[in-house]
């Protein structure tokens, strides 16, 4: 456990799933948070330049890493740079390329130890195209691996896809990402869930998160008793309905800690001195 640890969210998924829209929405809703954005592929939809400027130009562009003469990996170089940024950003968003494997990226980032923590792997899938992608000769295993490594899968464009495609996609996600939390939503709703960081515990309960199909419930746990933080987090993480949680609690030894949870992944770090106990939990109302 450490005091700091830059939180990093990996946003994965194939072309057209809505990754860039999500990044733009996150930037727009970041308010006082300083977001550093890493993009390792440039699709037809550009990252909104105005938004980036508002974020102090912390957009780092990446090349794809290993070529035949693979002497370097731009992602790791970029993260090394961000780690040393002064002032440090509050959160790093990594928009993975459409063919990148978020699980492999998360594993690489673990090398930064306590300095940068993967806070969640969010894989976006387009409800309309998923069935075709999963039967594509060249791409299917990449999509499967993207789903498998997700903490949170977001099924997008369910409002545009024919209902039978959506239900097929829903079933496919369940098969390929059995342990991930799954949400169906427009990206703006998701952005607010992921950005819980800048939302104080008190305000969070008022959040009007408007999901698409499955209603979400926000609960604030007051955490007035001391707890075994790890056991507590494990319970939340193994609950398939819990999508996101954040907040502070006090352990039996008197240490105050911060919990960050996205889908099945969580981290516990030392809490800032001024942190007040209380944890916001967003879950699907099953």
């Amino acid at each position: 456990m450490s005091d700091t640890g830059l939180p990093l969210t990996i946003i994965g998924g194939y072309l057209g799933a809505g990754k860039t829209t999500l990044v733009n929405t996150l930037l727009r809703n970041a308010q006082e948070q300083r977001l550093a954005v890493l993009v390792n592929e440039f699709g037809s939809l550009p990252i909104d330049a105005d938004l980036i400027e508002a974020q102090d130009g912390d957009l780092v562009t990446l090349a794809g890493g290993c070529v035949c003469c693979s002497y370097g990996d731009d992602l790791m170089f970029a993260l090394t740079k961000i780690r040393n940024m002064d002032p440090a950003p509050d959160h790093i968003l990594l928009e993975a390329s459409g063919v990148a494997l978020p699980g492999a990226i998360a594993s690489s980032i673990s090398l930064f130890g306590d300095d940068i923590r993967v806070h969640g792997v969010v894989t976006l899938v387009d409800a309309e195209t998923l069935p075709d992608l999963l039967s594509d000769t060249y791409i299917s295993d990449t999509i499967t691996r993207q789903l498998k490594s997700a903490d949170l899968v977001i099924l997008t464009k369910t409002d545009l896809a024919p209902p039978e495609k959506t239900s097929l996609s829903r079933e496919l996600v369940g098969r390929h990402a059995p342990s991930a939390s799954v949400l169906e939503s427009k990206v703006d709703g998701i952005a607010r869930i992921l950005l819980l960081d800048d939302v104080s515990v008190d305000r969070a309960s008022d959040l009007d998160i408007a999901p698409h199909k499955i209603p979400l419930v926000t609960n604030t746990l007051s955490m007035t008793e001391t707890v075994d933080a790890d056991a507590f987090a494990k319970t939340l993480a193994s609950d398939p309905n819990v999508v996101r949680a954040k907040g502070h609690m006090v352990q039996a030894d008197g240490n105050r800690v911060t919990l960050q949870l996205v889908g099945g992944r969580y981290s516990i770090t030392n809490a800032p001195k001024t942190a007040q106990s209380g944890i916001v939990v967003i879950s699907k109302s099953a």
Binding site: E41, F42, C66, V67, D73, A100, A104, S110, L111, D115
Partner: protein, 545 residues
């Protein structure tokens, strides 16, 4: 002003006059080859007989290498094989771990700045029975300065304790397959895979953008070209930001720079639309010695790194399939748009699935944008089977095969990565020749040393470092090999109208040899000694650089 060079023999690669004794040049262009009286009509000339006892052949064309080879020579070479430095010093290979450590210690002793890093390159532990190097061994050389040794494959690095410390990796609890741990729970200092190497490599003296090359590196690269008989060389994965283009223009613009450079713009880091716009903007800046406006797409990874995309039955040792480095939609967009605009594209595909994706995509986009002479080229294309070569032929594709790979890593491919049968068919130059696919062969320097005559030897003999012959049926003949390293490679770059053979109207680019490649023959071609080169009529002697 006309100069006539006389030579012991001129191998022209022009079937109309295959062997001659004289070549006349004016303003960097060949007037003709033949006898002195045949040149009479051109007017007065100066006879230059400094090559009277030498053999001339067309300046060789390296169709797949990287300028980075020049940059790496500022670091300590610790490879197993003897390798000629740009300055012409034959650096003895390190035949044991102790020899390697001794060479590092000597390099360390020469460093004055106590904090300076000690970077070294081209270590290949397969030749030391895969003996592991530990950080303790490197700490004995220095515990205060960071030390890093890049392996020859480019996929693994060994570092000392100081380097781990600087990168924040000297701690317990690391759980990553690329970071082996010792009995103390700390990393051993071996780092596997580019993602693991990168955070450490910047501390040991390997720059951030390893694909780029600085000005001194370019000059060193130029010297290597002279020693190898190369007059045209690609820089096959360049990002080409404005500063880099300025450097390239300035250095190649110097009359003392001895090579034509053909940089291909690497597809990553920009949107497909911006990539096209970038190369369109670059193309008009081309000069005689700097040819801009081409694209390189990297489709998959490498076979020995298990990141290449293979079709069934996949990797011999059961490793999961590799990675795509570009989504198929982007590949299709770049190929189609380039066909429409007449931009040339080379694609890196190592695995046969990656090759098949390019073939399928080309078949589709060629229907939308028919093109007669695109000469799009599959680079490496190491695992292609015969049916794929037939498709290349049908689609008008060229191929540039990684012939040197057999010698250095053929045994590993046989034993571990793809198994015996596919190891034998790798880099199937024989099939390319039989199926009529225009082909070249390459070194991928700095992965293996720049030297087309050695590359030709590899393609003719298909011998591995342990002496195994890999794929008898894929050997090519001396004529085919010599063509591959001249006209063959020139063809893949749309430059065969200018270079690649010695004939009237073409550029006066020659390799000047002490020995006759035809006398050396298939078995000894790699021993052919290079005197130097002539580029556009300017003479470059290896002994001068």
């Amino acid at each position: 002003m006309i100069t006539v060079f006389s030579a012991r023999k001129i191998l022209t690669m022009n079937p109309q006059r295959p062997v001659t004794s004289h070549v006349a040049i004016r303003d960097g262009i060949i007037l003709g080859t033949g006898t002195l009286d045949e040149f009479e009509g051109w007017g007065p000339y100066t006879l230059d007989d400094r090559f009277a006892d030498k053999v001339l052949m067309p300046g060789m064309v390296e169709g797949h290498c990287h300028l980075q080879e020049g940059a790496l020579w500022s670091h300590t070479y610790v490879g197993f094989f003897d390798r000629m430095s740009p300055e012409g010093e034959m650096q003895a290979g390190c035949k044991t771990v102790d020899e390697m450590l001794a060479k590092l210690a000597a390099a360390e002793a020469r460093l004055e700045d106590p904090d300076a890093a000690l970077p070294a390159w081209s270590l290949d532990p397969i030749y030391f029975d895969n003996q592991k190097i530990t950080r303790g061994q490197l700490d004995a050389i220095s515990s205060t300065r960071p030390i890093g040794i890049m392996h020859a494959s480019g996929h693994i690095m060994n570092v000392n304790t100081k380097a781990l410390e600087l990168a924040g990796l000297l701690r317990t609890g690391i759980n990553h397959e690329g970071v082996p741990l010792g009995s103390d729970g700390l990393p051993t200092g071996e780092l596997r895979g580019p993602d693991v190497m990168s955070p450490v490599s910047i501390h040991v003296g390997f720059d951030r953008d390893m694909l780029s090359c600085d000005e001194p590196g370019m000059w060193r690269f130029g010297k290597l070209c002279i020693r190898a008989g190369v007059t045209t060389a690609t820089d096959l994965a360049a990002r080409l930001p404005e500063e880099a283009v300025e450097t390239l223009l300035r250095v190649t613009g110097n009359t003392n720079f001895p090579a034509r450079i053909v940089p291909l713009r690497f597809h990553h880091g920009v949107s497909p639309e911006d990539l096209i716009a970038h190369v369109e903007a670059l193309a008009p800046q081309s000069t005689d010695k700097l040819r801009l406006g081409r694209i390189k797409i990297v489709v998959d990874g490498s076979i020995q790194g298990f990141t290449a995309r293979l079709r069934a039955p996949g990797y011999y040792n059961g490793s999961p399939n590799g990675l795509w480095y570009i989504p198929p939609e982007h590949l299709a967009y770049i190929l189609e748009t380039s066909l429409r605009k007449g931009i040339q594209v080379h694609t890196h595909t190592n695995g046969d699935e990656a090759t098949q994706l390019v073939l399928d995509t080309m078949a589709r986009v060629l229907r939308k944008a028919p093109s007669l002479n695109h000469r799009f080229t599959l680079q490496h294309c190491q695992l292609a089977d015969t049916a794929q070569f037939r498709q290349m032929k049908e689609l008008g594709l060229c191929v540039n095969l990684f012939a040197n790979h057999h010698f250095y890593w053929g045994d590993q491919h046989y034993d571990l990565t793809v198994g015996p049968e596919r190891a034998e068919r790798m880099n199937a130059a024989g099939t390319a020749a039989r199926e009529g696919v225009p082909f070249a062969i390459h070194s991928d320097a700095p992965i293996t040393p720049l030297g087309p005559l050695f590359t030709a030897w590899c393609a003719m003999n298909r011998q591995t470092a342990t002496g195994r012959t890999l794929g008898e049926a894929e050997k090519i003949t001396l004529d085919q090999a010599l063509r591959a390293i001249t006209l063959g490679a020139a063809y893949t770059l749309h430059l065969d109208n200018e270079v690649g053979s010695i004939e009237t109207g073409k550029r006066a680019d020659f390799a000047v040899l002490e020995d006759d490649p035809e006398e050396k023959g298939v078995e000894q071609l790699n021993e052919t000694r290079v005197w130097g080169t002539v580029l556009g009529g300017t003479v470059f002697a290896a002994s001068d650089v």
